[in-house]
Amino acid sequence: MSENDFTTNEMMTVAAARLLENGTVCFVGIGLPSQAANLARLTHAPEVVLIYESGPIGTKPDVLPLSIGDGVLAESADTVVPTHEIFRYWLQGGHIDVGFLGAAQIDRFGNINTTVIGDYDHPKVRLPGAGGAPEIADQSGEVFVVMRHGLRSFVDKLDFLTSGGYLEGGDAREKRGIAGKGPTRVITDLCVLEPEAGSRELVVTSIHPGVSREQIAEATGWDVRFANDVTETAAPTAEELRTLREFLARTAEAHGDTA
């Protein structure tokens, strides 16, 4: 692949990474969020503070951790605290600027499901579960969600509400007395969505290069709307792509994947 071609996954990761500012204190979920947060650290935000729920604070892994507790996270951290302290002093204590989450399902109000597909007591698919997400979604200053676009993931109705976004929309979240601002950005492999003022419904605000509105509409389980001033996401720079690919290559090698 030539340096200027890029995959939709690369576009997603790059677009997510750009949202993290230098110095931001970020509570990082495993998988895509971890990939994006570390890309930010390796590019425009060297001072971003990455916190993983297992205990590392200010960690700087040279390869992507497969789990949220890999040794590389402890060895490269400013400090490592007990897991309960992460949730009590740092998250509940109000020190997290951005909670960076993934999800299996999301609805138009940014509510997410990582628990089950189908009925809870007789699930079609039993997913891993909540983990730290419910409190990360509630207590982080704001939340970024990064996940692939598709009819199975962008649904009209969640099978299970694991972690709250804007709930029924409008000021439902504030009414529930939830501290954080909620999901201010949803980054997918097709576009970026943001909550519309007032209704708090997620609307498309930026479309990745080469993606059509039809593609997005077909991949969304509700009648998705577009902001008046939709922009086109800037394509990944050569620098962003090189950094991401080198990082993933180092990771694959470390995890013993075949290239």
């Binding site: 507790g69 949730f87 694991t162 995890h255």
Partner: protein
């Protein structure tokens, strides 16, 4: 008062059918060897507690050791599902598994409350989640000063707490370092505790303020080098990410899983035997 003994003896002595057991480890220091010994000794009707059940819980559940699972996130990190856990929950194989589901914050606070000999923990949490619809052990309390309503969860007080750690000294004082997770709280919240360690040394000489469990707060200390494998022990060996990925195929179907357990766990005497058996299998696969 810590008894320094074999893992076989410790499990026989302290971990019984029907017990509530927490084998903790937050990616780091997961007590795989202890879990295998529980399978070898054929324990039944266990209530298993863990924030992040992974491969060893998949194995215990697949072998029918568990009646109930208390957890917050059950998966193979970075890989996908735990197929034995899913088969138990989705299809009741080998028998139905009751589940009590929490968030990490809820369970972490519940272990702290258990270690503190409190009956419950208070947290800001469970504010907008369906978990409360399916778990009647998540309640609320009102602050007597501000009138605020907060979430309350019952303290976790397992019958047996099982962890792996880096080192113990000859008396049984235990040192844990790196990602300490809730290892200390699991031992202090449990009625009985088993700690497997990489090695028993003459003196711990822990750095100031490191995570140490005094020998008089632990029941059994067992030297099991590599006992966290395929998890890791910081300063001793790294996580075998290849094994975590390979587990997906092993656990996918019931017969393959059974065959694997019978060959490598039930077919071996102890964890050294298990590691040797794995090596032999790998050599075979590699071929001549």
């Amino acid at each position: 008062m810590a008894e320094i003994c074999t893992l076989k003896h410790a499990v026989a002595q302290h971990l019984h059918d029907g017990d509530t057991v927490a084998l903790e480890g937050f990616t780091h220091l997961i007590p795989h060897a202890a879990g295998h010994e529980v399978i070898r000794q054929g324990r039944k009707d266990l209530t298993l507690i863990r924030m992040t059940p992974d491969l060893i819980y998949d194995q215990l559940i697949g072998m029918g050791c568990a009646r109930k699972l208390v957890f917050a996130w059950g998966g193979n990190p970075g890989v996908g599902s735990l197929h034995r856990l899913r088969d138990a929950v989705e299809n009741g194989w080998p028998h139905p598994l009751e589940i009590e589901e929490h968030s990490h914050a809820g369970m972490a606070n519940a272990f702290v409350a258990g270690a503190s000999n409190l009956p419950f923990a208070v947290l800001r949490g469970y504010k907008a989640t369906d978990l409360v619809k399916y778990n009647d052990r998540i309640k609320s309390v009102t602050c007597p000063f501000t009138g605020e309503e907060l979430a309350a969860v019952p303290a976790l007080r397992p019958d047996v707490g099982v962890i792996h750690a880096q080192r113990a000294d000859a008396k049984g004082n235990v040192l844990i370092h790196g990602i300490v997770g809730l290892q200390k709280e699991v031992v202090l919240s449990a009625r009985r505790s088993i700690v497997t360690v990489e090695e028993v040394v003459d003196a711990l000489d822990p750095p100031a303020n490191s995570c140490v469990l005094p020998h008089w707060a632990v029941d059994a200390v067992c030297a099991v080098p590599g006992g966290a494998y395929p998890s890791y022990a910081l300063g001793y060996y790294e996580r075998d990410n290849r094994f975590y990925k390979a587990w997906d195929a092993i656990a996918k179907d019931r017969d393959g899983f059974r065959a694997w357990i019978e060959r490598h766990v039930l077919g071996t005497e102890d964890f050294d035997g298990f590691r040797a058996s794995l090596e032999a299998a790998r050599a075979e696969e590699a071929g001549p």
